[in-house]
């Protein structure tokens, strides 16, 4: 049943193997850039681009790469896509590129990308690898979106820069700082585990 496996490959990135809430990979950008929704979205998109294309390339050339130099080759391939993302952002979306600062170049060492290359793309066919990468990207993107929405709403009282909460609201500055990231992530993780437990216990 190839159809069912494809769906599973896709869905596991969203739920059972969600990179943020389950695998806890790529925590550095997750915690660092999610202080505003626009940054979360841009980081999610840039990471998705790198993840999907490096999975595609790595799974297509996996047979040519000797086992001993595979990690080195993956890093070079991933770094190339990251540099492309970085230059394109700087050239066409200077404001976003400025907001993300050093975190775009740091996608190179985002464990999700090397993790998927090593755990999936290097062992599976091109099609499945791309589906897996798209699912993982979407899972990562949605997690960043959720995290950054909560932090921006409580930390600045805005969403995407538009005031949402009224004048009465005193922004919780801590939500914009690193502790806010840890607290929000911890609570979200607890909720997601609880939800899954209840589903299973159903």
């Amino acid at each position: 049943m190839p159809d069912r496996t494809a769906r599973q490959d896709f869905l596991k990135g969203l739920s059972s193997e969600n990179p943020i809430f389950r695998q806890m990979l790529g925590m550095c950008p997750t915690l660092a850039v999610t202080n505003a929704v626009i940054n979360g979205i841009a980081m999610g998109l840039a990471t998705s681009f790198v993840l999907i294309f490096s999975s595609l390339v790595i799974s297509s050339i996996k047979r040519l790469i000797p086992n001993q130099v595979r990690i080195a080759s993956y890093i070079v391939i991933i770094a190339s896509f990251v540099t492309i993302a970085d230059r394109v952002l700087a050239g066409f979306f200077p404001a976003i590129s400025k907001a993300l600062g050093p975190f775009v170049p740091l996608i190179v060492v985002n464990c999700i990308i090397l993790g998927r290359a090593e755990a999936f793309a290097s062992k599976n066919k091109v099609g499945r690898s791309v589906i897996d990468a798209v699912g993982m990207s979407l899972g990562f993107f949605l997690a960043l979106l959720l995290l950054s929405s909560i932090r921006e709403l409580l930390g600045s009282g805005t969403l995407l820069g538009h005031p949402v909460l009224g004048e009465w609201f005193e922004p919780w500055v801590i939500m914009l700082l690193p502790p806010g990231a840890f607290i929000t992530l911890g609570l979200l993780m607890a909720i997601s585990i609880q939800l899954e437990k209840r589903q299973k216990g159903g």
Binding site: P66, Q68, S73, S80, T83, V88, F92, G155, L176, L177
Partner: protein, 201 residues
């Protein structure tokens, strides 16, 4: 082929292909990135020097560039100084607009900063920081007003408001402007801040 030879061959090929690819992307985006930076500075000059519609580079050194802001007729209406210095986390780059006689600050714009979001990053915020720079006295060094007051009218002419919780970032901006101020005064005394229009006379 031996394993060692294959390893070398594969890594070299991967490296070369990536390099070529990146070179192409670099060449394609290089001009755009440079243009973006130039546009950003130009836009900042127009906002900090009211009435200017074009600018001319007058002087350049490390961490300090002076532009003359011209109106539509080509006469100088003020100066814009692009200066950088150390902030709380990383470099801060800003443009400060000064009137023609170097006596008053028109306006300030922060172009680059990596200060703490929600605290130091407010140096880019008009309502909580930049507004207190409008019309400050440029004839003497600036000082921070701490604790901050709620309106510009209550500040002395050479005082600017501190951002609560971000004294270091606020002080960094004041220091950058003050050190730019010293250099600009010296340049003006040495007669190096002449625009083309005055040269022609």
């Amino acid at each position: 082929m031996s394993l060692a030879a294959r390893m070398v061959l594969v890594l070299t090929t991967v490296g070369l292909l990536s390099g070529t690819f990146l070179m192409t992307v670099g060449l394609l985006t290089k001009d755009r990135i440079a243009l973006n930076k130039k546009l950003e500075i130009e836009r900042a000059i127009m906002t900090v020097v009211p009435g200017s519609s074009s600018s001319r580079l007058l002087y350049e050194e490390k961490d300090l560039t002076v532009y003359g802001g011209m109106d539509a007729m080509g006469s100088t209406v003020g100066y814009a100084v692009y200066a950088s210095g150390v902030g709380f986390q990383d470099k801060i780059s800003l443009v400060v607009g000064i009137d023609k006689d170097l006596t008053k600050i028109h306006n300030l714009a922060v172009l680059e900063q990596k200060e703490t979001p929600g605290l130091g990053a407010k140096i880019t915020d008009k309502a909580s920081f930049l507004i207190y720079w409008e019309g400050r006295d440029f004839t003497q060094p600036l000082r921070l007003r701490k604790p901050p007051v709620d309106s510009s009218a209550r500040l002395a002419s050479s005082e600017v408001n501190t951002i609560t919780g971000a004294t270091i970032s606020s002080q960094a901006v004041v220091d950058i402007v003050n050190s730019a101020r010293d250099k600009v005064k010296k340049l003006a005394e040495a007669g190096k801040l002449v625009t083309g229009e005055e040269n022609a006379r």
